[in-house]
Symmetry: D2
Subunit: 206 residues, 4 copies
């Protein structure tokens, strides 16, 4: 919902604009608003995403309290359980307790852990399914499923808070898998509000 | 931070009260505020909790966006990993796709699944530890750990939003494990703000 | 942005629906969600309003922190200053220190105060304009303008929080002028999400 | 509620610290958290303020949606109505449509407007009191009162959001009267959490 034009209109509290084209003054206004942290006009542009992602990424995502989320409930359904099985394994960074480096495990070892993880996920799923078939409540049985499990959610957020999300989650400190989602979203933002995107990017790089 | 008295004071925008004892008029005011959903005076009373709970409960908890959370980061540390291993297994409710019933699995079967879960958690932890010792980044390796894993967080919330939390999470529709935490918190609230608690309870039961 | 259908889709985390028509199952789902306070699916339906209202109403409105607001700034512009001049004057309610009653002042007295208020607003505007023409900053000069002054804002809110707003602001305890706005908005909601509106109304009246 | 120490403890999810004194490692942690925008540990330190301020400042303040507010209600009481009557009148800035400059009106003109404003406020109050004594509801009668009227509120906010408030409201773009409040609050913050304050200030000036 919304566009660069709706930012300009809400900043000016005006509906009078017919033209879809922004002129030079409009662009300057958007730049000014971003630069001076007049964030409210960006809150009237809204995005909804449908995201499929492993649990450990979903947990980071849902810490952003300015989003509205609707997630598939594993209390409710035991269908379509899938896992993310990594093929590459980034190494822990030496000089940062939190981050991974760009180096990865050797091919042989990676293959080994890929298999072991797949295997372990399947066994967990088996135990889960068996418990469920015996009548155990899904809300308990799900505890055995590893955090590589995919979940699926709808997330709605306004442009101001989305830009803040992108700033944090495209950052080099953010987990690689999270950054891939953030970069994909950045490309959507670029298409929907190209002028805002241009000046936001400029300011970020200053 | 705060008490029944601070609710009364902030409702009256007054600091003038010395007495710690609430009188009849104060009590009536608290009842009136609760009944008529004048919620803001309850937002100046704050609670901080330190919670240890399995992941699938933590995930429900953190959907409450009015809390401030600080959680142990498994990108950062691989120490003190523990699991919740259930001894009883409630059955899925027949007439509700989401809830568990009060019935439980037979003792023999419960014992079986208890062992199987413990075993599976230990194997996951072993694979995890091995990956970490080979240098795999914690942020990836953690994916193998089941949702029975305990996490630990600080949560801060104001009384108005805490009462809303209690209403939802002590409800019969809420997951049993979640309710146990909610009931424990309810007892703390009762001690800290006894007058507010009394009228909140009354209204809820009307 | 959104409709009854998008509520159903986000509750089911599904995009698969082509049909615009809700069937019986969809209606039952919406009713169930409302009744059991599963509020998140209603957060993906968004409304933006452009509101012109006197300051004392705007101040009540902006206490709703789940809305995003963009208001005309009187630091920035001294144009188009208008006032709400009441023609009827509701009396203070005897048994409630906060509310007005349905009784109004006599016609003669009403006419008198209407003129006096208009007069006083005009003098204030005159002093204001004179100060501004002498170079006094608008941010200071505006202090002289009475709270009958109109302001203008954009407000964006999701359906869940809008229904909560309507519950409070269409309530008999709410100020008459506020209720008129709330009722106008209620009619818009009824048109945009008729099924949700129907069951929300039903539940409210239970 | 809280201190520099509680920030350190919540960042480390630990209660084990007895000492009140922060050591070098603690200081470095606070600096790291601020620099890398790990904001959540600062959300467990809470402040409550009791503020008396003119309406046009209160309105700016209450746009900060992360605060909890409790304001005196002019629907409820007609007592203790006071006005802020400026003695100095800053001039509009030439090259910025929003700000005032450091220049002020001449002494003679200032004296003139000071009297005129006082006079106009008193007449408004007179009309108001007369209406109220005739039985007009306070919620309507208050519309005649100018925005120079003082209001009084309680505001509660966490340290993270308070620092954000201070960044915006001590800024040169902020209205002079607002900045005076912000600077007073900044001094309180400095006393309560000196270490956090020191590094926040350092980072801001980089």
């Amino acid at each position: 919902m919304g566009s660069d034009l709706s930012i300009v209109n809400s900043a000016r509290i005006s509906y009078n604009r017919d033209s879809k084209e922004l002129d030079y003054k409009d662009e300057r206004l958007i730049k000014y608003l971003l630069k001076n942290k007049h964030t409210s006009p960006f809150e009237h542009v809204l995005f909804t995403f449908n995201i499929k992602t492993p649990l450990f990424i979903a947990r980071q995502w849902m810490r952003h309290r300015t989003w509205s989320f609707n997630e598939i409930s594993r209390r409710y359904t035991d269908e379509n359980i899938e896992f993310y099985i990594p093929k590459e394994f980034r190494l822990q960074k030496d000089d940062n307790k939190q981050m991974s480096s760009e180096e990865v495990l050797s091919e042989t070892e990676s293959f080994l852990y890929h298999s072991e993880i797949r295997n372990q996920c399947l066994i967990s799923l088996q135990i889960y399914s068996e418990m469920v078939s015996k009548g155990v409540a899904r809300e308990i049985a799900r505890g055995i499923l590893p955090q590589f499990m995919y979940t699926n959610f709808f997330g709605t957020v306004d442009l101001h808070n989305l830009l803040h999300f992108l700033e944090l989650r495209t950052h080099i400190h953010s987990q690689h898998e999270m950054r891939l989602y953030a970069i994909a979203i950045e490309n959507i933002v670029k298409e929907v509000v190209p002028i805002t995107y241009k000046y936001w990017k400029e300011l970020k790089e200053e």
